[in-house]
């Protein structure tokens, strides 16, 4: 655990020691703030639905897009940069296990995302001062958002282990995540049975329940399995140095 913590602390210092972190946080907050404002405005103008499901559903579905935009840019450097600079070779000669290195970096990106998510709560707090609302649905939404982010981070780390080029790592992450989003968009052509199977795998179909204010075990399980799968891919990818000769 100490090793994981040491790696996470180093990564966080690297994040917050560079302007990139503040740009990414800024972009996330500006976009999510814009969505929060425009969703509230839309709801007030055309609303008259139930606040608990109607408004928050819009907000969290929009936050999903911002997360999709920003997180691959957060995770892309985690392994790619170390391989490019050659610092990773030293790590492999230290008495630490590969999974500890992955979990340390994972933890760092997760904490970074948690900081962003905490900051997005400011408009909720302000809104609640003027207009008290039930807390349950946004809690479900935030649970879903954190799980979604966790899954994105795992996928981003796996992509980052595959290359020493950060842009390639980010593009690869976008590719995989967008594929898991679009895979159920072909209702018109697909067989209904196939669509039903695809829905099981669709990233965002599992997120909509959270956004609508409902926490379901199957959705939590989906995100955890997604995360574990990509962490496993990362581990195997790092271990491939044994036969690829690329450190």
């Amino acid at each position: 655990m100490r090793v994981i913590r040491a790696i996470a602390r180093r990564e966080l210092a690297a994040y917050f020691g560079s302007p990139t972190a503040y740009v990414l946080i800024g972009v996330y907050l500006v976009l999510s703030g814009y969505f929060f404002y425009s969703d509230v405005a839309l709801f007030v103008t055309f609303g008259a639905q139930v606040l608990s499901t109607g408004l928050w559903r819009f907000v969290f579905v929009d936050y999903r897009l911002v997360t999709l935009l920003v997180l691959p840019l957060v995770t892309m450097r985690l392994f790619a940069e170390e391989r490019k600079l050659g610092t990773i070779e030293l790590i492999w000669t230290l008495p630490v296990k590969d999974y500890q290195v992955i979990l340390g970096k994972f933890l760092a990106a997760w904490v970074f995302f948690a900081v962003i998510v905490l900051l997005t709560m400011i408009p909720f707090v302000v809104f609640r001062v003027f207009f008290p609302f039930e807390l349950g649905p946004p809690i479900a939404g935030y649970t879903g958002l954190m799980l979604l982010g966790t899954a994105f981070i795992a996928c981003g780390i796996a992509a980052s282990t595959l290359t020493e080029n950060q842009v390639v790592a980010a593009m690869l992450t976008y590719g995989v995540l967008v594929f898991f989003w679009f895979m159920t968009w072909n209702e018109g052509v697909g067989d209904e049975k196939i669509i039903r199977v695809l829905l099981l795998f669709s990233l965002f179909d599992h997120y909509y329940n959270f956004a609508s204010g409902s926490i379901q075990t199957v959705d939590i399980a989906y995100f955890l399995v997604f995360t574990l799968f990509f962490l496993f891919v990362s581990l195997r990818s790092l271990q491939s140095r044994a036969w690829r000769g690329v450190v």
Binding site: V3, R10, A13, G86, E89, L90, W92, T93, L94, W243
Partner: protein, 331 residues
């Protein structure tokens, strides 16, 4: 003396490429061994197998008695490594970087500060403790890399080209630093700078095309590569007469006059004689007794450069067979 590093028939393949064929050697505690070879000889791959970056495809190796595959963490705990591309995290201050590595090496929290201070002292970097690694000169960054390797007081140090890319003054400093480390540790120093090996190392290991060609002290390698002793003599006197006199000396096998010095007053002769016989006194006697003038008489030793080139170029010929035996035998 106990064996600190033991490699037996190490082999590494990447797909169809064989990077390291069959490498065996033993290094005893306290030795400083130079690891030589042209680029692409398989040095880095061998070091990476020893340091646990990746496992060998076949064969086994131990560091301080710990198998590098089965007992990998213990083996890695016993070594400090300075990678060739030693680029410590540039955005970190030196002391914080060293604390990070110390934590990774499992040094206890209570002992961290003392451990970091100790290696900073040993590497001479206390002065820059709070500067960012990325802002240091290359020589200082290399010192940070060495300090990092020293953390945890590992009995084995593996340094991959510690002086490459440094200016001459930095090279001298780093060499002195490495030389000082060798007194209490076992050190493998990979390099392709031969003078470095000559000045620091007790033994050399020469590698080419994925094979170890020889492991021995430079003197014994010379003995092995050259089946005779060689002396050079500058003599004043008629060439043919001198030749005759020299050839009459017992144990002298061959005398070659230097062709270039034909018209000069003195001529140089290369005299080869049996191994194990120092016949300088007899040679001097023959020259002076014959009424010739002896200006200079000195032994001709093979430079490490010549040894290296002979081994590497004759790699496919006569040298490797006995050299491989030597490598197996270790000493």
């Amino acid at each position: 003396m106990s064996i600190e590093i033991d490699a037996e028939h190490l082999r590494k393949t990447f797909g169809a490429t064989v990077a390291v064929h069959d490498v065996s050697f033993r290094i005893e505690r306290g030795e400083v061994v130079g690891f030589l070879g042209p680029n692409g000889a398989g040095k880095s791959t061998t070091l990476r197998m020893l340091t646990g970056v990746f496992p060998p495809s076949a064969g086994r190796a131990t560091i301080a008695g710990h198998d590098v595959v089965r007992d990998s963490l213990a083996a890695r705990r016993s070594l400090g490594y300075l990678p060739e591309r030693a680029a410590p995290y540039g955005e970190m201050p030196v002391a914080r970087y060293l604390r990070f590595i110390a934590e990774m090496k499992g040094i206890e929290a209570r002992a961290l500060t003392a451990a970091v201070r100790e290696v900073m002292g040993a590497a001479g970097i206390e002065r820059v403790a709070h500067r960012l690694v990325g802002n240091l000169s290359k020589g200082y960054r290399q010192r940070v890399g060495i300090a990092q390797a020293l953390l945890g007081a590992p009995p084995v140090l593996i340094l991959d080209e510690p002086t490459s890319g440094l200016d001459p003054e930095q090279v001298t400093e780093i060499r002195a630093l490495v030389h000082g480390l060798g007194s209490e540790r076992t050190v493998i120093l990979s390099t392709h700078i031969l003078s470095e090996v000559e000045s620091i190392c007790s033994r050399v290991m020469i590698m080419n095309r994925g094979r170890v060609l020889a492991v021995d002290s430079p003197a014994r390698l010379e003995e092995h590569l050259r089946p005779y002793r060689e002396f050079a003599a500058d003599v004043v006197g008629p060439r043919d007469a001198v030749l005759l006199a020299l050839r009459a000396v017992p144990h002298v096998v061959q005398v070659v006059p230097d062709a270039s010095a034909g018209a000069a007053a003195s001529a140089r002769f290369t005299i080869r004689c049996d191994h194990g016989s120092d016949v300088r006194r007899e040679i001097a006697g023959a020259i002076v007794g014959g009424g010739f003038g002896l200006l200079e008489l000195r032994p001709v030793v093979m430079t490490l450069e010549e040894i290296f080139l002979t081994l590497v170029h004759d790699g496919g010929g006569s040298a490797p067979a006995p050299a491989a035996e030597r490598a197996d035998a270790g000493n």
